[in-house]
Symmetry: C2
Subunit: 242 residues, 2 copies
C-alpha cells in the first residue's frame, strides 16, 4: 500500500519545480516505461499493478489500479508508472548538428522535435531556459523513448551561441532559399518560438538566415508549424549529406 | 436573444453527422472567422458579442458573452462564432500533386497537413471516408484559414487510385531513398494512418514506394509523426522543382 507521503511525493513530480528539486521525473505506460528501463537512465521506483510483467526488486512496488489512478496524470493509467532520475548534464559535443531551441512552449512541438532528432541521428539539443521542460508528462508521452537517446541541455542559449565555433543557422522569413544554400557539416540550427519566432538578441548571433520557400499563390498562407519547419530543414540537410 | 431552438441547432453542428445533414460547420474566434468571411465560403450566420467589429446585416446576430459561451466549443470563446456552408465538391484537377489521405485520425495531424498543403501550393487533397472530418472544430482551429484555400474531397480513395492516370507514390518502410528518387510533375502521394500506415488494398495500387531514411545509430527509433513525414516529402519534391 502506498503511504500518503509517498503519494504526495509522486504527485509533486507532475510539477516542474518539484522535478528540479527532487531531480526526478515520471514516465507512464508500458511502452514508455520499458524504453526508459532499457536505457542508461536510472530508475528510482516503479509502481505497477499485478498484471505488469516484471521481476520483483525492492525498487518495484506493487499497487492496486486505484492507487495507480491516484498517482497518475492520465485518465486511464496503463499498468505502470516509473519514477526516474533526471540524467546529469552531458558535455555538448561540437561535432555535427546542434539544435538550439529558443523558447518552444508547446509540449507536443518539443516532443515531435525530440522524436525527429532521434530519427535523424541528431544527438544534442540546447534549450533556452524558458523552453517547456522536456520532463513534462506531455513531452514524455509524445517522444516515446526518443528522450533516452537525445542529449538535452537547458542553458543560456545566448551565451552558448556567443561562444560557439560552429556557424549559426536559423529559419526566418526572407532568408536565403534552403534549397539553394550549402551547409557545413558542423552547425547550429536555431528554432524560434511558435508565435514570436527567434528573440531579437539571439537573432543577432545568427550568421546564416534561411527560409523554406512557400509555393502558395495566396499571400495569406499561415507560416508552417515550428516542428514541421524543423523537420523540413533537418531532413534537407541530412539528405544533402547523403 | 437566442431561442432555445437556435441554440440547439448550432450545438448540433459540433457533431459530424449533423454537419453533413445540415451542410454547415462552425468557425470560432476572430482570426479564423475573418479568414472565412474573406473567402468564397458562404456565411450562414454570425453570432458575435458587442465588441466584435462588424457591420450589422441580417446574418449577423448580436449575442451576450453568456450566450456565446452556450453555443461555443471553447472554454473561452473569443467574441464570435460563425456558421458557414460546407462548400460543394469541386472537381479534382489532374495537374500537380494530389495528396491522398488513408484514414488520418488525429485532427491536429489533419490540420497540420492542410496548413502545409497551403504553404506548398498543393491545392487538392482526397481523404478516405474514414479520415477525420476537416470541418471538425479542432481541425478548423489548427488550420487557421488554410482550409479555405485547399480543395478537400472525401471519397473512395481505392476507386480514385484505381482510375487515376498519375503515378501513385507512398511513404513506407523499406522503400527507395527519397533523396535518390526522381519525381514526375503530376503525381499522387498517399499518406497512411498514424498507427497502421497504408491499408493493404490501397498499398497494392502504389507504384512507387519511398522512404525517408533514418540516420539514427539506434534501431529503436520511433517512426516519424505522419504530419512531419508528409511535410518532409512535400518540401523535398517542391525543392526539386526549384
Amino acid at each position: 500500500m502506498l503511504s500518503k507521503n509517498t503519494r504526495k511525493k509522486i504527485l509533486e513530480l507532475h510539477n516542474k519545480k518539484k522535478r528540479v528539486e527532487n531531480n526526478a521525473f515520471i514516465v507512464e505506460g508500458i511502452k514508455g516505461v520499458n524504453e526508459f528501463l532499457n536505457s542508461d537512465i536510472e530508475l528510482i521506483n516503479l509502481y505497477h499493478t499485478e498484471d505488469f510483467d516484471t521481476k520483483t526488486t525492492e525498487k518495484h512496488i506493487l499497487v492496486t489500479q486505484g492507487e495507480l489512478q491516484q498517482i497518475s496524470n492520465l485518465k486511464n493509467p496503463n499498468k505502470v508508472l516509473g519514477v526516474f532520475e533526471i540524467p546529469k548534464k552531458k558535455q555538448i559535443s561540437t561535432k555535427g548538428i546542434t539544435l538550439v531551441l529558443d523558447q518552444i512552449n508547446d509540449p507536443g512541438n518539443l516532443g515531435t522535435i525530440i522524436r525527429l532528432c532521434d530519427w535523424f541521428g541528431i544527438e544534442q539539443m540546447i534549450c533556452s531556459e524558458n523552453t517547456v521542460d522536456c520532463y513534462n508528462s506531455k513531452v514524455i508521452q509524445s517522444t516515446m523513448g526518443s528522450l533516452t537517446r537525445v542529449n538535452i541541455v537547458y542553458d543560456d542559449i545566448f551565451q552558448y551561441l556567443k561562444n560557439t565555433d560552429k556557424p549559426v543557422y536559423a529559419t526566418v522569413l526572407g532568408g536565403s532559399n534552403i534549397h539553394k544554400t550549402s551547409f557545413e557539416k558542423n552547425i547550429n540550427i536555431v528554432i524560434g518560438n511558435e508565435a514570436n519566432g527567434i528573440s531579437a538578441e539571439v537573432l543577432e548571433l545568427v550568421n546564416k538566415k534561411i527560409t523554406i520557400p512557400s509555393y502558395s499563390k495566396h499571400n495569406k498562407t499561415e507560416s508552417l508549424n515550428v516542428a514541421v519547419a524543423t523537420s523540413i530543414v533537418i531532413a534537407h540537410i541530412k539528405g544533402l549529406e547523403g
